[in-house]
């Protein structure tokens, strides 16, 4: 029963890695959004350092969202989605497989790149570990909630703009807890804090529940 999910995971991962442009474009987008901030705000290093965590998180959300918004598009277009529905593996598991493959191929590189890109914002590189850790804690929520958006906007007009309008409000807790967890870690040196627990809880809940919502939406879309 798990075999289709594993196969799907392998296929998605290999496709994504073979097409390096997907990851490259996402990182490029991330880089550009981050670079725009100083261009717009001026080079005051102290100001940039203060806003760096928030900017890195916001840009990550935008990059990840626009990338994951296409998660089901190609499968829908070539009819693979209909075939997937017929497999004996529950659609929810297949969704999780796709989410994990997309995370490894796209979101993980973004997160690893974040501290480096943060240098453009005078981000304290000593906090790189904390930044990556808190982003990883929020990554399941980002991917899972984004996948719901992908499933909802599959056949909709204005897909890119629409998914942002739908999903960015749902990203607010991830954003707030993520930045809060980072500043707690930076200040107290202790990784565990209320915000981090909330973030982990949200991620866990999203990872468990979102596949059901996404699968339901996919079933509705494929009739």
């Amino acid at each position: 029963m798990l075999r289709p999910a594993v196969l799907l995971f392998n296929r998605d991962l290999r496709l994504a890695l073979a097409d390096g442009a997907a990851t490259g474009t996402a990182i490029g987008f991330y880089l550009l959004v981050i670079a725009l901030l100083p261009l717009g705000l001026g080079p005051d290093l102290k100001l940039l350092a203060r806003i760096a965590p928030g900017v890195l998180w916001v840009a990550l959300l935008l990059s990840a969202l626009l990338s994951i918004g296409r998660l089901f598009d190609s499968d829908f277009d070539d009819g693979a989605l209909d075939l997937l529905r017929l497999s004996d593996c529950p659609l929810e598991l297949l969704v999780i497989a796709k989410i994990i493959a997309h995370f490894l191929a796209t979101t993980l590189p973004l997160i690893i790149a974040a501290p480096l890109l943060g240098l453009l914002l005078n981000f304290d590189i000593a906090l790189a570990g904390a930044l990556i850790a808190t982003m990883l804690a929020g990554a399941p929520a980002i991917s899972a909630i984004g996948a719901i958006g992908a499933a909802l906007t599959l056949r909709a007009r204005r897909g890119g703009l629409l998914i942002a309008v739908l999903i960015l409000p749902l990203y607010v807790p991830t954003l707030v807890f993520g930045v809060s967890a980072l500043s707690n870690t930076a200040v107290t040196g202790v990784a565990l804090s209320g915000a981090l627990f909330m973030l982990l809880g949200l991620s866990l809940l999203a990872l468990v529940l979102a596949p059901f919502a996404a699968a339901a939406a996919l079933r509705l879309q494929t009739g």
Binding site: G54, I145, R155, L170, V176
Partner: protein, 267 residues
């Protein structure tokens, strides 16, 4: 309660019932608001600290309550639609969205106008105003999704899914924006705006509710709620009629097509 929703499940019966409910609620709303506004303007003392601007609260707070109530109603309608396939649930959800969004927008605007004399700024990222802003975004999302889908049925079902997803994340949104403190459990999550300390200290509690202020507040809240119900029911009537018009137009076209096919055959 279940049998009430069952009774109202029949669109024909709903139309017959709502024909009287809409004007009934509307008149009740008008009377209640008239009383409420009279008390607010002529019988309510100025607040010690906020002078007369506290009168804004009489429209701001009910608007916020109704915005939240509207979304809760959308979520329960969505549940009824997806799980119980209640025939009028989607009609209810669709007509709720613009009304709830309007009240949420009013909460934001009146909140902003209240903020200006109180805190000297038109917008302040106060925890509760921020929550209302995000609620407004959730409404926009629902309306945007429905508008972006050409297939009406698909739009109804996907919007219902989105509404339920929104309601599931809502507790997290509230906690992240407004914080959560439960000392007995050792939970202390600061609201987001304490992360970035504003330069001035804002009193975001609002005025303490005094009975002379509470009365006009409750009366106006009741009046606006009655108005909400009247608008919701009328919106549902409109949607039911719209669907019927479309169905009849389709039947008309089909009949004309069939008649033409017969003529061609006879010729």
């Amino acid at each position: 309660m279940a049998s009430l929703t069952q009774k109202l499940a029949n669109p024909t019966r709903f139309m017959a019932l709502s024909r009287w409910l809409v004007p009934g609620f509307a008149i009740a709303a008008a009377i209640t608001l008239a009383i409420g506004m009279y008390i607010a303007f002529f019988a309510s003392p100025p607040d010690y600290q906020q002078k007369h601007t506290v009168k804004i609260m009489y429209v701001h707070v009910p608007s916020a309550w109704l915005g939240m109530m509207g979304y809760a109603m959308i979520a329960s309608s969505a549940f009824g639609y997806l799980v119980f396939r209640h025939p009028l649930a989607d009609v209810s959800a669709k007509s709720l969205a613009p009304i709830g969004a309007a009240f949420t927008l009013l909460a934001l605007v009146t909140g902003s106008l209240w903020g200006r004399p109180t805190w000297n700024t038109y917008w302040v990222w106060d925890a509760r105003l921020t929550s209302v802003l995000i609620l407004f975004f959730l409404y926009l999302g629902l309306m945007a999704l429905r508008a972006a889908l050409e297939d009406d049925t698909l739009g109804s079902k996907l919007t219902a899914v989105l509404a339920l997803v929104g309601v599931a994340i809502l507790p997290f949104i509230r906690i992240s924006v407004e914080g959560l403190t439960i000392p007995s459990l050792g939970i202390d999550i600061k609201p987001w705006n304490t992360l970035h300390q504003p330069s001035s200290v804002l009193r975001s509690d609002g005025p303490r509710i005094h009975s002379s202020i509470l009365t006009p507040l409750l009366v106006n809240a009741a009046g606006f709620t009655l108005m909400f119900f009247a608008m919701h029911l009328q919106g549902m009537r409109n949607e039911i009629m719209r669907r019927r018009v479309r169905a009849l137009q389709l039947a008309k076209v089909r009949r004309a097509g069939a008649a033409r096919a017969e003529l061609v055959e006879q010729a």
